[in-house]
């Protein structure tokens, strides 16, 4: 069940026997997989197949019906460094960046204020945020209120945080929504760079990840029939 990986890559995250039930419907059952440094994993499946539920379970926002999520803990000196995320929640959250459906951008604040809050909230360095705004092509909009932005610019404001993040584990739910073609390819390049730095990315998207297709891209497929298939 384990996706093939380079032998020396270290294990960052491990899902064990995850079962998720929503509204009396079994979304997935006994789902296990490991995520190694350098992995980019795309969670696939039709609408309502449980992609977001899976990602929220991996972040610890939701609890699985059964099973648990383990992460590589550096603080504990146990022989077994894999620890349950629910047990070492604060340490896990230092390792985690989650980008959900909802961008968490405040309309009453400017682009710059939103970005610096989002970066500082997660304990990352705000020094390079001007560069991050340039990267998402929002330079010149930094003093605009977020409520005056277009949908795509709104998303970009939220995505700018990715450029400042030190967290190795990125969990991204539909990061490409409302982003233009150029923006998508920039993000794909960022994802590759992050994977090469030893991070991992778990994302859902309905786009073809053309730039990533031939590299480390792995897939987890969820579908209605409750058969979980791996490539």
């Amino acid at each position: 069940m384990t996706p093939s990986t380079t032998p020396k890559a270290s294990l960052l995250l491990s899902a064990k026997n995850l079962t998720c039930i929503r509204q009396d419907r079994l979304l997935f059952d006994a789902l296990s997989f490991d995520v190694f440094a350098g992995d980019i994993i795309q969670v696939e499946g039709p609408n309502g197949s449980g992609k977001t539920s899976l990602l929220r379970i991996l972040t610890g926002l939701s609890q699985p019906y059964e099973g648990q999520v383990l992460f590589q803990s550096t603080a504990t000196h146990n022989k077994e460094n894999l620890q349950a995320i629910t047990r070492y929640r604060e340490e896990y959250q230092q390792n985690l960046l989650y980008f959900g459906h909802l961008s968490g951008i405040k309309g009453e604040m400017t682009v710059e204020e939103n970005l610096s809050f989002n970066i500082a909230l997660h304990g990352d360095n705000t020094d390079g945020q001007a560069q991050a705004l340039t990267n998402v092509n929002l330079m010149g909009f930094e003093d605009n209120l977020a409520s005056n932005l277009s949908a795509g610019q709104h998303r970009r404001t939220a995505l700018a945080r990715l450029y400042q993040s030190n967290a190795p584990i990125w969990i991204l739910d539909e990061p490409f929504t409302a982003i233009d073609k150029q923006g998508v390819s920039d993000l794909e390049a960022l994802f590759l760079a992050h994977a090469q730095r030893g991070g991992c990315i778990i994302l859902t998207t309905h786009q073809d990840l053309s730039a990533l297709a031939n590299t480390q891209l792995k897939k987890i497929t969820l579908d209605y029939s409750n058969d979980i298939a791996f490539d």
Partner: protein, 245 residues
């Protein structure tokens, strides 16, 4: 669009979370500053509860008649009930906007402990709703012919009591934030918890009017304040985790 540099900005190749900058004070001031900024740009949040407070209190002399004895007898109760309802009216905004736009789940996922973020949000809420009520109360007390010995007690009970309203209210909001129409449920959950504050605060003001010492009532309100200050943020954090599940 110019082709953005694809590498992340922190080029030190350091993915260790150890490089995170975490401190309680930084986290607290960060959230406090953000909430105050939003409130100042979205003034309804400040004006609505205050206007409600003023209108309710000014209506009483009109309804009951201008007789000074009657008014000064019921003044403590009116001011405190109005303050309590004004706070209740403003509670919903404490977490609702953050819940609907997703910033609440980002706060829950931040490496900062949730209680410190919650405490900052509640402090901001008190500064936005509680503090203006306290500043306004002496003026309105004049309208109600409050006994002149009672002004000190009124201000002190409001200073100790309104933070309790914000802190206990936050627990109720955190529990109901995920529910579509949680308004009625919120009142049912929160109002019983407000009753001790109401009883001891009005009793302190009444006692002060008689010229007697009211430190006993103040001590109980202070105990409620410190108790809720230390415990409520943890309860709110736990309730928010349930609500976002």
């Amino acid at each position: 669009m110019t082709l953005a540099t694809s590498t992340p900005n922190n080029k030190d190749n350091n993915l260790l979370p150890m490089s995170k900058q975490l401190s309680y004070r930084r986290a607290f001031s960060l959230v406090l500053k953000r909430d105050l900024t939003i409130a100042l740009r979205h003034r309804d949040d400040i004006i609505n509860p205050l206007l409600f407070f003023v209108i309710v209190i000014t209506l009483f002399p009109l309804g009951i008649g201008p007789e000074a004895n009657t008014l000064s007898r019921i003044a403590p109760g009116i001011i405190w009930v109005a303050a309590l309802l004004a706070t209740l009216l403003s509670l919903d905004r404490l977490f609702k906007a953050d819940f609907t736009d997703g910033s609440l789940e980002q706060m829950l996922l931040s490496p900062h402990p949730i209680f410190i973020l919650v405490l900052a949000k509640i402090t901001a809420h008190w500064l936005i709703t509680g503090l203006p009520l306290i500043l306004m109360a002496p003026l309105l007390a004049v309208l109600l012919h409050l006994d002149e010995n009672s002004y000190g007690a009124l201000i002190i009970t409001l200073f100790l009591g309104t933070p309790v309203l914000s802190l206990l209210g936050a627990i109720g909001v955190a529990l109901t934030v995920g529910i579509k129409k949680g308004g009625v449920l919120l009142s049912l959950l929160v109002l019983p918890l407000y009753i001790p504050v109401l009883i001891f605060a009005t009793s302190a003001i009444d006692t002060a009017a008689l010229g007697l010492p009211y430190s006993g009532q103040l001590a109980i309100i202070a105990a409620l304040f410190f108790g809720s200050l230390t415990l409520a943020p943890f309860a709110v954090g736990a309730a928010l985790k349930v609500s976002t599940n």
